[in-house]
Amino acid sequence: MAFDYEKYIRPGKLPHIWCPGCGHGIVMKGLIRAIDKCGLSKNRTAIISGIGCASRLPGYVDFNTVHTAHGRAAAFATGMKMADPGLTVLCVGGDGDGVAIGGNHFIHACRRNIDITYIIMNNHIYGMTGGQFSPCTPTDGFASTTPYGNPDPVFDIAKLAIGAGATFVARTTAYHANQIDKMIVEGIQHKGFSVIEILDCCPTSYGRRNKFRSVVEMMKQHKELAVPVTAAAKMTPEDLQGKIITGILHQEEKPEYCEQYARLIDKVQAQTAGKG
């Protein structure tokens, strides 16, 4: 039987705002399948976003949803998770939202290792505002504010997350639709801060400025450049130049922030009781 997405979509909220060819819808479906596989309760799941095309996702899905301010999803989510540690908290958003304006919140959420799953749809561009370059636009790439090519170096979101202390970091692409839900399931089930970077396509603002004749061409590129992490382990750095390593890139066990704080409360209350 076909998967019933309707169960998780808010009635009357579609069609979505995304352009034809945008990969955000593929990610949304993957997210829904992952939540279903994890058996999460709608009432006990919160999805938090910032601002941008990808950040419109929460409006379409039937959970506790907060469309916050630009870049602030991780900080709102931190407050919610601290306030109610039993709540499953997920963040969704784009690359500019997450690692430019939201970069500070992102790295500190990684550092705290708070049990939140952050899904970044990296389409290398600010789509909603008309295609300005983001920290993830390839160097020399074209955007509405890089008419002569992008002079900036690129952020590697996964490396940033690992460096900042995230304890689960995975990467896949919108082409690898079946891997999206698998990675999100792993992220949700991991205790700690999980980052899932999903390379996505923006044919409207990125593709047409960068000589992609169609979104199919953009997705084919993701397919061709993708190297599973197991295969990448056997390749030389030279061979991996320009490739997209996919799969679980990093996973480790470390104390989770809310559990650490709960232990702190227990300790303080035991001391206070002892003083009687």
Binding site: V66, R72, A75, F76, T78, M82, A83, D84, L87
Partner: protein, 377 residues
Amino acid sequence: MAKKTALIQGNEACAHAAIYAGCTFFAGYPITPSSEIAEVLSKELPKIGGKFIQMEDEIAAMAAIIGASLCGHKVMDASSGPGMSLKQELIGYACIAEIPCVIVNVMRGGPSTGMPTGPSQSDVMQARWGTHGDHATIAVAPASCQEIFSETVRAFNLAETYRMPVQILMDEIVAHMREKIVFPEPGELEILNRQLPAVSPADYKPFDTSFGDVPPLAAMGSNYRYHVTGLNKAPDGFPTTTAELVDAEERRQLRKVEANASAIEKNEEYLVDDAEIIILAFGITSRSARFAVDNLRKEGVRAGLFRPITLWPFPEKRVAGLAGQVKAIIVPEMNLGQLIHEVERVVKGSCKLAGLGRVDGEPITPYQIIDKVKEVL
């Protein structure tokens, strides 16, 4: 049994009052001269099972308290000028999404880094208009450690009652001054909580105005699922650009404060009944003003003090009324003229008006006020 008393600092009184009011979540970022509030709450909140988190910046602290408030906690954040400038983004979010929260601003000199350890009252207009767009504002300005306690409790009550951010404006002097305070017994001060939905989850709308101008707010993670956004929204919480819906929501958010202004307003009046001149002052400046009034009275000048404890909404009817019965109003404030503009707006030329500003990091003295009164009369 005698009530518990203590010799404590204004910032400490504020922190203890937050717990008395039911605050269970504080997020902050270190900044002089507000840091003691965070320090006390980092120590006290875990004792009652509450949460304290020091965030990565001032914006994040606002985000965290809004998130925690959405999950049903009573929340607070404390900062000062430069931090308040950063927080304006999410104060606006709390306004439009109607999330109860209390933000303490221990005012220091500015603009920018200004004078971190110097007192100031220069964020009067920032408190009112700091975030962009039309919005209602509630701000209170206590003048003593005892009043910091009671006004902090009242700030939580106002935030919960009107479902919005409430600012506590303290100057560095009241915040760092030590005075004896008497701790109220549990139940002695009124504690108010936000209105929770009475309808079923299926019928719940986060901005349902059929219950009045302040819609009930369900905790996220309870059985009520809903959507919150910083976009202009319809009563169901989802974004809208429908002209009449946007207009109705914007007007309601102003009306919920304007229509309740008399319940929110709180003033202290001292010797105003027969006054020929009124000194209108708040915070630490009002204490110099009171001393000035006593001395002027000894000299036969019929001076009085009007002290707004609620700064926003401004007590316009009362001030307009007083203006009609006096020769002059003097507005001393530790800035170069902010609250005086509001006084001028409501006085409409019906009496003489003079300001007295000071921005050198020193408080306005009673003698400065006395000299000003003599100059004006």
